[in-house]
Each structure stands twice: as C-alpha cells, then as structure tokens.
Symmetry: C2
DNA sequence: TCTCAATATGCTTCATATCGCATATATTAT
DNA sequence: ATAATATATGCGATATGAAGCATATTGAGA
C-alpha cells in the first residue's frame, strides 16, 4: 500500500498517471508529451506497473499502458480525488494541453522519433 | 504537490496521518499507539508539517498535531479517499483499535513514559 | 535555580532511488 | 538474414531518505 503511494511520490510518475487517466498511451507518446528521454519513461512506468497501478500490453512493436483495471474501488476513488488535486497544477494543465494537441512530431534533436501516433 | 505525496509515501507517516484524521494527538500519544521511539515520531511528523499536511501547537510541555485546517478542498477530499484505502489494511485497523482503547500506559521498557493522556 | 518530562535536532551510517549512458531484446519490414 | 524502430534493462555515480543514538531546547514545578 505504501508502495503505491511511493510510486505516486515522483513528479514524472504523477504526470504519467494523470496522462493515463485521460487515455491509454504507448511509451513513445508519453515521452513526446513530457519531452523526456525514453529510458526515463520506461523506468518510471515500470515502477507504476510494479506497484500495480498500471498494466501494459503489446501491440506489434510498441507497448501500451493503461490504468490497471484490477484496482479496488477504494483505489479508483482515491485516484479520482488525486486527479482533481493534480489538475490544480499549471504544469499538469500544460501537459494535458500537449496531449490533446495529438503531440505534433518533434523536428530534430537527439531523441528517437517514433511513429506510433499515426 | 509531489512533496505532499512523498510525505505520504512512508508507512509510519501514513499511520500518523490516519490517526490524525481520527483526532488531534500529541507526540507521546502517537509514539505509544504506534510503539515507536520518540525521535521517529518527531521526525516523521516534521516531514508532514513541512509538507503542509499537518499543523502543530504547543500546550504547556507537549505539542499537539492535527490535520492542517488550511488544506484545499481538493486535498481534503483526497485525504478522505485515501483514508478509505488505508482502512482496508489490517495494520491500520489494529492501530485504530489501540487508539480507541485510550492507549493504556506502558509498564516498563526503555521508552520514556509520558503523562499527557491523563 | 535545578530538575525533569516532552519534544526537536544534529550527525553518522546504511539503504534506496534516480540519472545518464550504453546495450540488450523484441518485432516488423526488406 | 539484415536493418530499423520501440522498448527494456544493466551498471556506475550521485543524491535522497530513514534508522539510531546522542544531545539540545523548552516549559513546568519544586
């Protein structure tokens, strides 16, 4: 139980959870919305999975993540309350806007450019 | 915001928060209910205070802690949801029972015995 | 003022977490 | 089989956090 709270005690993981509360996403989408390197997303998402907060499944070459459908009613309600807390943050709002803009493809840079958000 | 979640990511601090959701308590009551040394309670409670989750005030020689009355409506609701999650834990239930039994005074041991719960 | 109870804090040690980077794995397409 | 994309993972370095113990602070009372 404390493990789940610990998983939720990291800014980037909070962001990821908030995004997944919006809709399921693959790793490359998350990295582009948050503008962070791939290994960070993979690792943080692994912590959330380990805590039983999210679930993943594979579709071809990429992997999707979503809020675990096996969460108890109590946890679902708690996440819903936390969502309202998180949404009072400017940073969270900004990231949600980026998500809704379908994440326009990055031009250059050192980051890998994926094609999953067709 | 992540600081508050971080403050809530520690088992003992979750316990303390749950106790304070029941009623305000002084440090010596908390240490006897949880059966932990004084310095631990002081330190953990300091983290909660630093995160703005609790407030303290002095009454003579002892110091009382309570859930901060300045929390936003969102945070209040979130704590209430978390409370329901926490209450599904056997450990939490056991501690709550100990609290309701007015914390019978410890006989001996290395711990300081306080008199605050007259 | 001296003592004691209640609480806080400084310091060291040990464990855990995160970052950054490189590399490994898996899947699809050629 | 080879190449390329998407994702995961192992490792070293650094940072953060908690435990334990000793000590400091504060207030009440003799």
């Amino acid at each position: 139980m404390a493990d789940r709270h610990k998983a939720l005690s990291e800014p980037m993981r909070i962001m990821i959870m908030r995004l997944l509360l919006e809709r399921e996403l693959c790793v490359c989408e998350i990295m582009r919305v948050l503008e962070v390197p791939q290994y960070k997303v993979s690792k943080h998402v692994a912590v959330l999975k380990q805590a039983g907060l999210v679930r993943d499944w594979r579709e071809g070459t990429w992997i999707h993540y979503e809020i675990s459908p096996e969460l108890s009613a109590e946890w679902r309600a708690a996440l819903d309350s936390m969502k309202k807390v998180w949404d009072t943050s400017r940073d969270v709002q900004a990231v949600l806007r980026r998500l809704r803009r379908s994440v326009p493809r990055e031009s250059g840079g050192a980051m890998i450019v994926c094609e999953c958000a067709k």
